[in-house]
Amino acid sequence: MVEAEVLVIGGGATGAGVARDAAMRGFSTVLVDRDDLAMGTTGRFHGLLHSGGRYAVKDPPSAAECMEENRALRRIAADAIEDTGGLFVSTPWDDPAYPDLFHSGCIEAGIPVEILSTAEILRREPRLNPRISGGFAVPDGAIDAWKTVWGCALSAKEYGATILNYHRITAVHRSDGVVTGATAVNAISGEEVAISAGFVVNASGVWAGDVANLAGCEGVTVLPGKGIMIAMSHRLVHTVVNRCKKPADGDILVPIRTVSVIGTTDTEADGPDDVAIPQDEIQLLLEEGEKLVPGFRRARALRVWAGSRPLVKDDKADDADTREMSRAFALIDHKERDGVEHFLTITGGKFTTFRKMAEVTVDRMCEHLGTARSCTTAEEALPDSGHHRFYWLGARLARREETLNDDQLICECELISRRRLESAMEQRHTQNLDDIRRTLRLAMGPCQGGFCIYRATGILHSVERLDYSAANSALLRFLQERWKGVRPILYGDQLRQARLDDWIFQGLLDVEHLT
């Protein structure tokens, strides 16, 4: 039995943000996710810390909100942010009337915007198509979802919260129209855990309709709008590059660490768990990439993934009383909507605005609970970001150079040393190499684990004292996970690497006959 004042369902950015905010305002809080944290839409997003430029023409209030939150996240989550800056450039395929609208939209939304000449843009980003005609600089950035979400979770923990990852909520308890807690099932052991909580926040993203149903609040429809992204090897650009046009498919390239990610698309998914990758969308992204960076098709594609945006369609309630702040996210008050008390659903929005969404949600909760406590999440930095220094690509190399002679390099692509790997394993205390991958970006570079996965398995076997079958399934599961991300983009150098990996894992190690 777990007891808390507040139960937050869903450990994506939104839920982790809510848990941190609630804990910082002094509520005893428990955060629950059916998977590891940030494995839903949050771990599958594009990595862009929006300046708001993308919404400057279409949705000025969203744009302004993005810029405000961009500033807040720079204050509190520096370690998760790479301050790349952003460009909006016009290619020959883009509407020549758009740049003027864009410029005035940015000014209206309070987004710092600088007009750049073609020559200046090409000086900054020499790989861009020389046929572009001018553009703008805005304060976009790149943000790491795992670092941010784990930062929020650890901060919440410091304020006394409990984190229950790998726990799926299977029932929400109600008594006389008041929500009183939930039942969670441990996804690894199958054990049931009863959670008693005076207030429940449903932050389960595209699954929010299902979770609302568990509380008997029916008819909350969340349509999953699926988008795919492809990580290309190397930094083809060092700045976030957006096409200066009405937002569409494949028009943003985000540099993240050692890769560049192109995205995205938008189609209605077959349910919240549909992450299938259609070939025609890959071709579309490559086509658009070629317009931004000539030769894009010959660059190496490393990994492809899909995630779904939660788009709320609530027929039952009218906009005025259920949607707070901006049309970009939905705070559903189930007391007003369904007569169910102490239950809120918060979904939609963007990664960039998660902190704001959390603040609005906890404000509403305080109203319901008849207590006034103020929010401090926009000022206090996350645990690893107290130094207020943005993440810098050279950091790993610099750290690596310091220990060159006394530590082994386990992942050559992402420069992960044996000691860092071992301490991450000890901290996470997991039998799942994919958890380690997300914590350290292990195996996310060009070789996609060809070398380090065997090493990591051997190390995990000894650090966690696994028996042979647990270690084998960690290895095999990881290979299968990796396969899902490369299968749709097997061509060029990535196919070559995949074949080398076939030779290593099957030809040499014969892993398919592990017991």
Partner: protein
Amino acid sequence: MTAAGPGRVYDALVVGVGTAGLVTALRLAKQGADVLVTAKGVGATHLTSGTVDVLGYTPERVVNPAAALPDFVRDHPEHPYARAGLQAVGDALDWIKLQLPDGALVGSLEANFLLPTAVGVPKPSALAPETMAPGDLRNGGRFTIVGLAGLKDFYPAYLADNLSRARLGQEDNGRVEARAVTISPPTGGVADVTPMGWARRFEDTEFRKTVIAELEPSLDGGAVGFPAVLGLDSARTVWQELNDALGVPVFEIPTLPPSVPGNRMARALRAALTRAGGRVVMGGRVIGVRGAGERLEEVVVDAAARPKTYRARDYVLATGGFASRGLEMDSYGMVREAAFDLPVTGMPPNAEARWADEYLAAHPAARVGIGVDDELRPLDSGHGVVYENVRVAGAALAGAEPWREKSGEGISLATGLRAAELILERRGG
């Protein structure tokens, strides 16, 4: 020698210095042919385990490849073994053992060894270096697996854990008992020593003494398995000395590339070829060919400074598969053979249907390659011979999934030797 030479025409031009190319060239050179080998870079031989896997799974584990092969080629008529003929497989194993130094390869086509891989799976191989053979698990036994503290590519505890549970099937008797020991011989303060770095250290007598001294107290009479880093040029001496000093059978277990035993094999083949008078142009990527009707006339090689043209009576394409860029696929899904631009067969037209959902499943696109007739000559989609003076050997061939079948070096040897024999036969012996 100048470009194109004043009319110089080689007897044979071989493209690629992997096992297939080297074997073809060596066989031809030994018969006195004037052979030129050109290759963009080294082959996969440097990365392999050093064993010669001929047929390991069909998908059941194969005990006796000689007995299993007739059914296998009947079921897989497009397989390189079917194209080369079964005779070629046996001939190639007999022949290669004679070309390499004593003990470089032992074993036979009639019985697969079961040798531990670096994750502790007993893998079926027809031939293996003598330095690996005592690791054979077919009769069970007691094993001590030795790790080196400064080697990140070998995890003895994990290996031993699996080895003790390895399923050896009914044909095998005896249980496997395995345990792990890690030693920390001096590395000169370096945390990360590469397999090649270890091999050099093992060639040093003083270093071996420290290994022996550290290991002796923890031996229990069982055979001792080391990662395959026991010396490069003098592996036989290193191995024999460890056997003698430790008083128990010592063996090597191959691990991640770059591979020390793979390098030994590649070096031995290159040395034999040089002795036989074959000439190798490294850095020579083939960028184009000129054909006339059914014959390939000349080959353009992108050598050091400028393209050179070479002419030969016969050509052998041994450029490997996707792993060596012998085959390439572009982002539209078009597959191309990179050197001679030969037709490629076996690619499912529908992108969604190329690869299975499960990584370890059979993949429809895995058998892509060059289709050949039973004289190993490339075929077009209408089954016509493209060039009658071109043979294809090794991993470039269509019809196999060698990493699953465990048939990599077996295919390269059999088709490489067969290509040479066909050229010699045509030439009238």
